[in-house]
Symmetry: C2
Subunit: 514 residues, 2 copies
């Protein structure tokens, strides 16, 4: 199979719609995935299913909550061991100023090299909110599904990591080697905003730059079976804002004071409320920080086309996974408008706020400090450093210089990949091969260290895969083990990884964009 | 000793100052406290000192945190047992819709009956902030003092309660009976705002109404030895204000959602911030609720005179106990102005605020709810029910009707007693007898159920006594055991209780005010 890039990108005739979805020819992709080798691998995955599930559970039972410094070291060691088991000659913990990352290289002697990103930390959890122990990784029915695993990290992202490794092991057992070389790059602080991930990449930067793409494989089906693909991410500026009497020089200095003193003392809690309200107008959904919107570039032609295509093709499926927790969008936006806003808008969110007595009943105190965690999602071309300066400028101008702004996480910048890139086309072909017409979002509303690869190393990046999980960052996070007529279970999810790797390997090497 | 009220109130000549301090004649009071009986009682308290301290410690080691439902029942039983030990024929738990109160009657067959108020619950505590176990009641040095007890409730108010009972027991051992009849009325929910204390009083209301005064005896010296007396209290409106997506019908409904959704969803946390800021302007110290100030009556002639006398006589001692935690008053008020504000101003304070993720590190969520605890101190003639309605009116008018306002505590109204009342004069005489020129504040900036006695039962009320404790409501709450040249220790503190009781008993019965 020697195809030119032009042949490979089988464009439907002229219309904007087809430009937005220049899928790889289904028939060509089918030649690859229908081959005897790939079918044998698929079969092996079926027969090894229970073993594969056990491996997923084992990973999930190892806690790795970066916020709590819980189990991260042990999880890093598990990752290293997994890569060695796979046959990576290089597989190392990479020490940083924070938690270690992991690097591994699988050398297939193949012409193409795929970089794979894995995060192996998780969000924290409030155990009492969960229906099952978030560290037990128990199997059981849930909603539409007969068999899921409930655990913190089930879908974000330790489950998907193991799906990928299971798929690779199946390939090896059948074919002896993977169809591409793989550089594994693993982050143990993603939920912290990946503050030290650049240090994980540093020793390998030149090798990574010479790779061909980044693949972030994982179950991407929604509950109704629809598939969402994203071709980029938003950046995130995350910080804590603290008002303290001691720094302010007003109000209680060192400890709470009896609340009757409010008659004569200023309150750091009121100061925080005042400062927060000066930054954002909730009723107008307007960030009130001068210049905050200035660097936003409007969606480009491709992004707009993808967005409008998405809206036209999937008007009913834009927000299916969130219905039970969302009754109405801000300002009563239609789902179509909400889809645009979700993709293209910057945000200012309060993740948490606290101060004073927060227990049951009453405690009449005037607290000496109060704080909030805030995150702002950034779209091209908003950069973290600049937006942070604007926040500081605002605080200074409004007389809130004593408030302490502390960055949380290392700050992840926005990322964007064109739909025309070969790895994107390979993923699209896999979906088409599975009979799925994927929803292609110009970018995710969330953030990831993807920019480390796209913007710092110049690699196109794409994620995708069959399968489903949900409730990431919430209680009862889960991943589907036994699929139904719409959603793939673990077997088809792992098979989709195999398809992507073989399809991408078979494609003509795309010339790197300048 | 048969004296007319006029003889008793030995007024200094003409000036406003003397009108504000119409102290009982020192010489007459000295006749009482210098008597052989009282001196014998004083002596007994000295010899029984260690035994008295042990009783204080025993009470403090019994936790009684009403917010946490911790030990309240046990503490009620301890109170009953203490009153029986004192010889009260009536001594009963009084069940309420909340925690029990306690009522006891000591019948001395005396012409005068004093009502004594005791609260036996305490604030909660954050153990890790304390230098010693807040429930161990250990003795040791602290700051200026060689010997204090550190414990939750040490000064507020389980320590002082036991001082009073120790004093009574000493009187009984020497004289066989107390010089006045005593109706003990005890509250186990004071730190909750005494929501059910009216139920404790209900069965005894007519008997209480026939009593002559309320005495709230307890160590009242500041660290420098100065004495503060208060002739009233502020009322307190305490409530929780909660914004929830479910009630609002907007934002996340049932659980937190990924913070990237802030682009399309409203935030209950921002809504709470918005609502709070609409209620109070921190930079102007202005409560923005229409009508909130309307019912305030300006200080009357006596209150103004007491205030200005206080400021003139004690300009350096107005805020001595708070220096380490307070560097500057609101709007850079002078201590004199702060004293006026503390006494006469209404307030709106945030006791606590919470929502979303408040742990270490990062958790990017859009929370489904957020809440704050607020207390407003009320001055005459602001009434709780009316001020609460004004808050609700404000929320409705500003479009925040979905926010849930939940009253905390039962609401304590303001209280005021005239300096001319006999019980006030008896307490003043005790201070004079101890060589102390007391600071007389027209009212406390804090709140207590005193209004149950003054406004509902028509009794004059006064508190006072030698001794010192501090850090009420904060960590390392303490009470002084071994005094120094300025501050009385436990012995003189208990002796001062004896002096008040005997002096008051000896005074001619004041005609009850209409």
């Amino acid at each position: 199979m020697k195809l030119t890039r032009k042949e490979f990108l089988t464009l439907s005739s002229g219309a904007a719609l087809s430009r937005a979805f220049p899928f790889a020819s289904s028939s060509l992709a089918q030649d690859v995935t229908g081959s005897a080798v790939v079918q044998k691998i698929h079969k092996l995955i079926e027969t090894q299913k229970e073993q594969h599930i056990s491996r997923v559970q084992a990973d999930l039972r190892q806690p790795s909550v970066s916020s709590w410094n819980m189990g991260i070291q042990e999880m890093a060691d598990r990752m290293v061991a997994s890569f060695r088991e796979l046959g990576c000659k290089e597989a190392d913990r990479v020490e940083t100023d924070g938690f270690p990352g992991v690097f591994a290289f699988y050398d297939a002697g193949a012409p193409k090299t795929v970089v794979v990103y894995m995060m192996y930390d998780t969000q924290p959890f409030e155990k009492e909110r969960w229906s099952r122990d978030p560290l037990a990784a128990e199997r059981g029915p849930m909603g539409d599904f007969e068999d899921v695993i409930i655990a913190r990290g089930a879908v974000n992202s330790k489950g998907p990591n193991r799906f990928f490794l299971n798929a690779c092991q199946a390939i090896l057992e059948v074919d002896g080697r993977l169809p591409v070389n793989v550089l594994f790059t693993c982050d143990g602080e993603e939920e912290q905003g990946s503050p030290h991930f650049h240090q994980v990449l540093d020793p390998y930067r030149e090798r990574l730059r010479r790779a061909h793409c980044l693949l972030d494989a994982g179950p991407s089906q929604q509950r109704d079976g629809s598939v969402s693909m994203t071709l980029g991410t938003k950046g995130i500026l995350e910080f804590e804002l603290e008002a303290s009497g001691e720094r302010w020089g007003r109000g209680p200095q060192k400890m709470p004071i009896h609340s009757s003193r409010k008659a004569i003392l200023d309150s750091p809690v009121w100061r925080l409320v005042d400062a927060l309200r000066s930054m954002y107008d909730p009723s107008e959904n307007r960030i009130l920080i001068d210049g905050f919107y200035d660097d936003i570039r409007p969606p480009n032609e491709e992004e707009s086309m993808l967005m409008e295509t998405l809206i036209r093709k999937f008007p009913e499926r834009l927000f299916t996974s969130e219905k039970e927790n969302v009754h109405v969008f801000m300002k009563h936006w239609s789902p179509e408008e909400a889809a645009r806003r979700l993709t293209f808008d910057t945000t200012m969110n309060i993740d948490g706020i606290w101060g004073g007595y927060t227990g049951p009943g009453s405690a009449t105190i005037l607290p000496e400090k109060a704080a909030a965690k805030i995150d702002c999602r950034l779209v091209p071309n908003q950069e973290i450093a600049r937006q942070k300066e604007l926040v500081l400028d605002h605080l200074a101008r409004k007389g809130f210089s004593d408030l302490k702004l502390t960055l949380i996480g290392g700050g992840m910048e926005w990322s964007q990949t064109s739909v025309e890139e070969a790895i994107v086309q390979a993923v699209l072909a896999m979906y088409r091969g599975a009979g799925i017409d994927p929803m292609v979002w110009p970018r995710s509303a969330g953030s990831s260290p993807q920019y480390e690869y796209t913007r710092k190393l110049g690699l196109p990046a794409c994620g995708g895969g069959l399968g489903h999980g949900g409730r990431a960052h919430a209680d009862d996070e889960y991943i589907v083990i036994e699929g139904n007529d719409r959603v793939a279970g673990i077997v088809k999810a792992e098979q989709s990884v195999v398809d992507i790797l073989f399809t991408y390997a078979a494609y003509p090497e795309a010339p790197r964009k300048s």
